[in-house]
């Protein structure tokens, strides 16, 4: 089971629920928090890496669904607008995970959403606003 990068969407009423604790203690999954965002009276967002056996991860996902935490893959929130990108390669030099990389020798940009951790380092260095991260 490869680790999954997920965006967890917390409805306001779940703010008191120790969801991450239950994931770790109750389902024996490794939870690596990549980033979090809490906005008053709005959905909270937590970007996590979840790792474990297939059974553990399935159980964790079922729990999240049951308590009402929205779950979506991180890749969905990372948008590379190909039509805006000129493939200058400025982003690839700052990307820590190789999600944005240069294929050589043709010098084209390759975007692997699954490797993205949503750090947003690429966003300000792109002169063409070709990368959007909706976190």
């Amino acid at each position: 089971m490869p680790n999954k990068r997920l965006v967890l969407l917390f409805p306001p009423h779940l703010i008191e629920e120790p969801v991450t604790y239950r994931l770790i203690k109750g389902y024996d999954v490794k939870v690596n928090i990549l980033r979090g965002k809490i906005v008053p009276r709005d959905y909270g967002r937590l970007v996590v890496e979840v790792d474990g056996t297939q059974e553990a991860v399935d159980g964790a996902l079922a729990y999240l669904e049951q308590v009402g935490v929205g779950v979506q893959p991180l890749a969905k929130d990372v948008r590379w607008h190909e039509e805006r990108c000129i493939e200058c390669t400025a982003c690839a030099a700052v990307c820590p995970t190789g999600a944005l990389a240069v294929s050589r020798p043709d010098m084209r940009i390759v975007c692997d959403h699954d490797k993205c951790i949503g750090c947003e380092l690429c966003v300000p260095v792109c002169p063409f606003q070709a990368i959007e991260i909706l976190l």
Binding site: I86, E87, C88, T89, A90, P124, P127, F128
Partner: protein
């Protein structure tokens, strides 16, 4: 066996011309040798696509009823101010112009999300923009205000006119300080953690004709997705810089001024750009065909990234202080590998010039020539070469004394009052 541009054009018209890109010629020259390749190949196409700040467009928008004199007035296109110091309804929009309301770097680093280059991109993309004008009113041009949507098709003339494009080689930028800096070469991390470079290297037009033998005033080119022309050398043209044995400059050298009708260009090749903490600009696509007149031109176009070098410059102190200093000389082959080594330190590199798009431009120009829709043109005047001794001069400041302040119209113009 030497060829003339006329002979090459005859071959293009009859569909017999052999055309390849500056990337393809490398393998051909290696395989066949220079003499045979020069005899067989007629044209080598080059390309570059990169931010080029000294780009602009001028427009004639037609006369309103009643008439308005925009000249000497104030005009904006989508809030971006244009230069109106011209006749009644002509004006010029520069790629780096910013709306008055843009906070610039007051909130550092500024984002510069929309500027002149973005307006040009929108216009070329067929979109209407908002023209807002205030004028002072005259007997023959009484109107004082004008607000209207306007698109390229409404205008009489819309010309791209870039006074400096297509730099023959450029610096590699690093930052030796201990804070992040925001430059036109990108965001540079402290302690040389990254490096920015900006040239298409072996595909770049002026690196394939290092002594401007075939490129001069009047040369027909690919410009912004359409057809344009070389006006002459661009500003800061500096052919007399140090060169390698193959004739190629080791640092920034020649430049071109270019022009072409905006109405036949494409937004894919004129793209507004925003450099964090620096400003707005525009990426411009240029492709130049190089006629293979003889073996010497073939040798020039067969140049590879390994044969081309650039200087690594510190943009945290040397560049802003105008200190001429190179930390290292690196090849484009190294730059494109993703890592260069400076003083024993490995540094990740990032391009600002798109090699992928440069290749696409060279390929498009090749196709145009093969289809017979693009003929080569004979330059009508040459561009100054190394032997001119020409280098870009720095500004020598001459202090203005208090009693010399320019605060009134010169006496001879003031009518004796």
């Amino acid at each position: 066996m030497a060829k003339t541009i006329q002979q090459i054009n005859e071959k293009i018209k009859s569909g017999q011309a052999v055309v390849c890109t500056a990337e393809e010629i490398i393998g051909i020259a290696r395989e066949k040798g220079h003499a045979r390749a020069a005899a067989e190949v007629d044209v080598v196409t080059t390309g570059t696509f990169a931010p080029m700040c000294s780009s602009a467009a001028y427009f004639n928008v037609g006369h309103s009823k009643p008439r308005i004199k925009l000249g000497g007035g104030r005009v904006t296109l989508n809030d971006v101010p244009v230069y109106t110091g011209l006749a009644a309804v002509d004006f010029l929009l520069g790629a780096t112009a910013l709306p008055d309301e843009d906070p610039r770097n007051r909130i550092y680093p500024g984002k510069f999300l929309y500027g002149g280059g973005h307006v040009i991109e929108e216009l070329v993309g067929g979109k209407a923009v908002q023209l807002v004008a205030q004028a002072y009113g005259t007997d023959c041009y009484p109107r004082r205000k004008l607000e209207t949507w306007i698109s390229l098709e409404d205008m009489n003339e819309a010309m791209l006119f870039n006074i400096r494009n297509c730099y023959q080689n450029y610096n590699v930028a690093v930052n030796t300080s201990d804070r992040t800096i925001h430059t036109y070469m990108g965001v540079l991390q402290p302690k040389m953690r990254n490096a920015g470079y900006c040239s298409a290297g072996q595909l770049s037009p002026l690196l394939n004709d290092p002594h401007y033998r075939t490129i001069g005033m009047g040369t027909r080119i690919f410009l912004g997705g359409g057809i344009g022309y070389v006006v002459g050398s661009g500003t800061q043209h500096s052919p007399a810089v140090p060169r390698l044995e193959n004739g190629v400059p080791r640092s920034g050298a020649g430049t071109l001024a270019v022009t072409g009708e905006l109405k036949q260009m494409q937004p894919r090749w004129l793209r507004g750009a925003s450099f964090l903490g620096y400003g707005a600009t525009m990426a411009v696509g240029i492709g130049i065909p190089i006629p293979i007149l003889d073996e010497e031109m073939l040798r020039c176009t067969a140049v590879t990234d390994a044969d081309l070098v650039a200087q690594v410059v510190d943009y945290s102190s040397d560049y802003p202080e105008r200190v001429a200093n190179s930390l290292a000389e690196v090849s484009y082959a190294e730059l494109k590998s993703g890592t260069i080594t400076v003083n024993g330190k490995n540094i990740r590199t990032a391009g600002l010039s798109s090699y992928a798009r440069a290749r696409e431009i060279a390929g498009t120009l090749k196709a145009w020539i093969q289809q017979g829709s693009f003929l080569l043109s004979e330059p009508v005047a040459p561009i100054a070469d190394q032997d001119s001794g020409l280098v870009c001069k720095p500004l020598v400041e001459k202090p203005i004394a208090n009693h010399q302040r320019f605060n009134q119209v010169p006496v001879h113009l003031a009518g004796g009052r």
